[in-house]
Amino acid sequence: MNRQALLCIALAAAVAVLPYVGVYPIFAMKVMCYALFACAFNLLLGYTGLLSFGHAAFLGSAAYAAGHALKVWGLPPELGLVFGAACATLLGLAFGLLAIRRSGIYFAMITLALAQMVYFFFLQAPFTGGEDGLQQVPRGMLFGLVDLRSDLALYYLVMAVFAAGCFLVWRIVHSPFGQVLKAIRENEPRAVSLGYDVDAYKLLAFVLSAGLAGLAGATKTLVFVSATLSDATWQMSGLVILMTLIGGLGTLTGPVVGAFIVVLLENKVGDFGMAAARLTGLDWFQRLGESVTIVTGLIFVVCVMAFRRGIVGELLAWRGRRRAA
């Protein structure tokens, strides 16, 4: 077996034992859901070169769809996940058909505006519970056998979904389809001149990305047994861009790293701020700690200005330089 496959198996084993070494399962599951979301987003931005500013619409719609299916229709969790992802895929198709006609900045703006429309719909629609959100979604029995109310059981399901999603992204990237996507990202006119129906490829990439993002959203509903409006806001769209950017655009592991950092940030920035305040004696760090927005904005600016390749990107470049030396 080659090195990459061995590395993957080792990583999978490591993740599998995390709950037993004291890592809080809910935290790890949250990271995996967001990592899948970021991987799906990266498929579109890193590999096809399309910046979608409305990906939260897919996360949110799948979250609500799955929540509704599980709570109101009583579907088993595996069908709930499939239903959620399917809804996101359909929404992706609708968005894609409208947005693909334009590219670059225009594409980003259109996806943003469409996502905002979807947000307003969720705000008013009764089935979402509006501001209260969809609460107390039953986790159910997986395949009628495994009770998912146990955090541990759910952990392995989420791990499996995450692994499957990552594998799918890897397979897409390392396929003729993926090569065409990369060609489109590098030089679209040339791809057109080579005879590829660029719009169709872009649309398919968009739909796949939306579907996977939806899978992440549906899984998140299972983890938190709730779906709320914050899943569909433009701030969430911005957050997934940040995850991909920090981690490394166009790398396979980058989004995972980025998701880990951002979730850590969201949960721990208050503690970090207090620690820094105590360390330096400057009370201002306490205030910084109270605002995830400031820290997020700061990281965004710093990443775009100086750290464009992201953590994994920089690591790969550093490794490349060492090999060349």
Partner: protein, 404 residues
């Protein structure tokens, strides 16, 4: 290059500083641990926020910092108005930090999520900042206490009392989402029952920045009272526009979810004469004034009802622990549901079987600039609304704990 290394170093440092928290061991249970999750930095942070943390700290300090030798500890976090952050934090604290009691801050979605987690983990949850009446109805639990107020009480209080005060014909400006609809519906029912009439309503999208056209429609209805079935920024912008378009002297505004912070930021010029219902006002009694002065020394401004309730609820819980000698959830819940609360917040308030803390509410009217003697001197109490009348009656409750 330097900037990049700096970033890398900072990230590593940050991760290192927080890594231990990932592997927290269980802490011994000789500590009474209170958790508080609220909006610290976003839209509701003025109402509760860091000042709410201070209020609870004051309660702990006033209880002596310990009970029967067991130290009292306070954990607090910012949920950023995201239910998943709130519920994840709550779970983590219950599972890993042996949290004994959770206090819920502003935002109904997060409180509902936290209530569900607390019910699952069988620990007391006191919802203070949120207004969702669902907490004691469809989503009630034996471990939830809804302390300070809820939207039904506000709607009923304002509706009936304003009609009694002479405001018989109403027009509603409603935020177009579930919460706004519920506020409007509850108030409209009460208005009609009290003998008033509803001349019309208009639904404005949530977060609309410009209310002028909706206010024109209100003006042309000829109603006496403009009922604002919205909250926060929407309320503030509608009041401002109402003043600008001359709606106000002719129509009186009844704010259905207004807090003293909103009045403070709008100013008395714009809000004078407005009706609103509140659960507590710093100037309502000597005890309230005394406590508010202490709060002002610590925080720098007068407390809102939510912040006062934070202190009162924390003190009530600590009294329960002291009286029963344990922090066992079921024992404490039983004590809380069988004893009255008598402090600066309320005298004679009590917790019902559905978790609702029933206490008197007050119909306030905002003073004119001439009547006000200083900052935060904003309200005059028009009527006291007995708790039994304004809160959802047990007979109407959809809570499964209520025996009918």
């Amino acid at each position: 290059m330097t900037l990049r290394s700096l970033c890398a170093a900072a990230t590593a440092a940050g991760l290192a500083a927080t890594a231990p928290a990932l592997h927290a061991q269980g802490i011994s249970d000789d500590v009474i641990r209170i958790g508080f999750i609220t909006d610290m930095s976003s839209v509701y942070s003025d109402l509760d926020g860091p000042a709410g943390v201070q209020a609870i700290r004051m309660a702990i300090a006033d209880a002596g910092g310990e009970i029967a030798g067991k130290k009292i500890e306070l954990l607090f976090a910012d949920h950023q108005n995201k239910a998943d952050i709130a519920s994840a934090r709550a779970r983590e604290w219950f599972d890993q930090q042996r949290l004994d009691m959770l206090v819920g801050g502003t935002n109904s979605g997060t409180s509902l999520a936290m209530a569900a987690v607390a019910a699952e983990k069988k620990r007391p949850f006191i919802a203070i900042g949120a207004g969702a009446s669902d907490l004691t109805n469809a989503q009630c639990s034996p471990y939830t206490v809804h302390y300070a107020y809820d939207t039904v009480a506000l709607a009923r209080g304002t509706g009936s009392a304003v009609v009694k005060d002479g405001g018989k014909s109403w027009f509603f400006l409603t935020a177009d989402y579930a919460f706004g609809h519920a506020l409007e519906r509850d108030t409209a029912n009460v208005v009609k029952q009290a003998g008033g009439e509803v001349k019309g309503q208009v639904r404005a999208p949530l977060g609309a920045s410009d209310f002028s056209s909706f206010l024109l429609q209100a003006q042309s209805s000829g109603a006496q009272i403009l009922g604002l079935a919205n909250a926060g920024g929407d309320t503030i912008n509608s009041v401002k526009a109402a003043n600008e378009f001359g709606v106000t002297p002719a129509m009186k505004i009844a704010g259905l979810l207004v807090f003293i912070n909103d009045v403070h930021s709008l100013g008395l010029q714009a809000t004078q004469g407005m009706y609103l219902t509140d659960g507590w006002y710093w100037d309502q009694s000597d005890a309230a004034r005394a406590w508010a002065a202490k709060f002002e020394t610590a925080v720098g401004r007068k407390p809102s009802m939510v912040q006062a309730a934070d202190y009162s609820a924390a003190a009530f819980y600590l009294n329960a622990v002291k009286a029963t000698g344990t922090d066992d959830a079921d024992t404490v819940m039983k004590w809380m549901k069988s004893n009255r609360i008598d402090d600066f917040f309320t005298s004679g308030g009590y917790v019902r079987e559905d978790g609702r803390m029933v206490h008197d509410m007050y119909l306030m009217q905002v003073k004119t600039p001439a009547e006000s003697k200083g900052p935060w001197d904003y309200y005059k109490v028009v009527a006291t609304l007995p708790g039994e009348e304004v809160y959802t009656k047990l007979s109407e409750s959809t809570c499964k704990l209520v025996k009918k």
